[in-house]
């Protein structure tokens, strides 16, 4: 599979840092039957960015935009990591050796696996590198 398959469209939502914004976004997703697989909130003095992997990104985008949210798509990669000490190190060290910078990252750990979601400065290089080192990347088709 080519690199594009592993480049997952994440939705990012610009949000003022005030009560009710996350609830409003989550409600919109519920109404459209959009499932949120993973999300994070980054905060910066007065405003924040909500980032989420969802199963229906286009529907989520349309719905949130129609509600007045400022929404953008960003390509991220999702890589499985071993749910044990050293799991994160394996991935981070490979990226570091290749001088690929992680702009931000978040993770979730489920019953069957732990997944690291990465936003890096060189997406294609990172995908190739991680595949080369036999990591399991999650394809976008598996999500939406």
């Amino acid at each position: 599979m080519s690199c594009e398959h592993y480049m997952i469209r994440q939705i990012s939502v610009f949000s003022e840092n005030k009560p009710g914004r996350l609830a409003a976004m989550a409600k919109a997703c519920q109404e459209e039957d959009v499932n949120i697989l993973a999300f994070s909130i980054a905060e910066a003095d007065g405003f924040g960015v909500i980032r989420a992997l969802v199963d229906k990104p286009d529907i989520a985008y349309e719905k949130l935009t129609s509600l007045g949210f400022n929404v953008a798509f960003t390509h991220v990669i999702a890589v499985e990591m071993k749910d044990e000490p050293g799991g994160l190190f394996e991935i981070a060290s490979k990226l570091s050796e290749a001088e690929i910078n992680i702009e931000y990252s978040y993770a979730f750990s489920g019953k069957s696996r732990a997944v690291l979601i990465l936003r890096v400065d060189q997406v294609e290089e990172a995908v190739r590198l991680l595949l080369h080192h036999k990591f399991t990347l999650i394809a976008s088709e598996a999500i939406y």
Binding site: Q10, S12, F14, S15, E16, A42, A44, G46, F47, V49, R51, G68, F69, N70, V71, A72, T74, E103, Y104, R119
Partner: protein
Amino acid sequence: MRCWDPRIEEMPVADLQKLQFKLLKTIVYRVYSFSPFYHKRMKDAGVHPDDINSLEDIVKLPFMYKKDLRDTYPDGLIMSEQEELVRYHVSSGTTGKPTVVGYTRNDINNWTESLARGLTSAGLGHGDVIQVSYGYGLFTGGLGLHYGAERIGATVLPTSIGNTERQIELMQDLRVTAIACTPSYLLHMGEVAEKMGVSIKKDTFLRKAIVGAEPWSEQMRSRIRESLEVDAYDIYGTSELSGPLFCECECQQGFHVWSDLIYPEILDPDTQEPLPPGERGELVVTMLQKDALPIIRYRTGDITAIKDDPCPCGRTHPRLERLSGRVDDMLIIRGINVFPSQIEHALLGIPEVAEHFMIEVDRKGALDDMLVRVELAREAFSDKISDLMRIRRHVEKVLKGSLNVQVSVELTEPGTLPRFEGKAKRVIDKRLI
């Protein structure tokens, strides 16, 4: 109480009015004959200098607005040849274009004399050490007070603005007895001094302050007296009129406006009808002796009232009450005039944000703090926090550049700020003055 120039300051009112009429007649003939701007204005209004036969006839003359100074930038209103000018001052404009004021030697002299009378009436003079903590430069505050203080024989400490700790050290070391600054800065100095372990009351010789350039109140006067044991005197003036010009006398019941220099009118801002003494309205100013930049019936936008009852100090000139507001939406932030339209204008040049905005002014400690909320443009959102921070810093920098005031910016979501039909109310002023 001692006068700087008793002959004029104690002149009988009838004589002052005769003098005013003579000066008015002279300046009206002069502008009609030599200023293309005034000539046209007066023609359009159908008024000729011969129609001015009493002081009351001044109402026949057309008004002048801040806009006229802007529209004639840089020197369309300046009547003197450039080689006759000894100085320029420049104030920031409401929509990017500044206003330029030129001064002949005579203009500087009248300005200085006006302040010499005012500072003397506040009980200052030879032997005082006066710290001038207004900005020096294009702003009129610093140099204006500097000249006035030197004229009365005081020793001037020209600290200008900034570096408060150093200002306090110098105040102590050089035995400063009076300071000229904004009232909020004076209170701020008190707070900083306290942190430095210095008591303005006990460790300095400061006893008087000449404060202005921003709104203040009788409560602030009491606060300054109680916390610093400093007696604060109001001062008034704007760059168009020369700069800070008039200062309260020791009776502290408004500032004397010298009848040989200025003819003030108070108008109902809506009907433009004259209001009697004691009633508040818009101050409209005619400067009676200005050479380079004549000012005739200039709408200051400031709200005040004339007091023409005799002042216990013995000076015969009327007084104006402390300003109580503006007829327009002008804000005064740390002594600097800010119009919301300036912000609107500046935002138009920044594609990353929309044109909607709200201003919130508060007083953090003793100093003003201005927050501008703007909506992030949809196209400008990129998911990276660093990009958003960069946009915010950029907006702050652009606003600071155009307003000359430190501004904090908050990015908000598109469509969240209020929209206005008709007159916009973009300012939330939380300051307790």
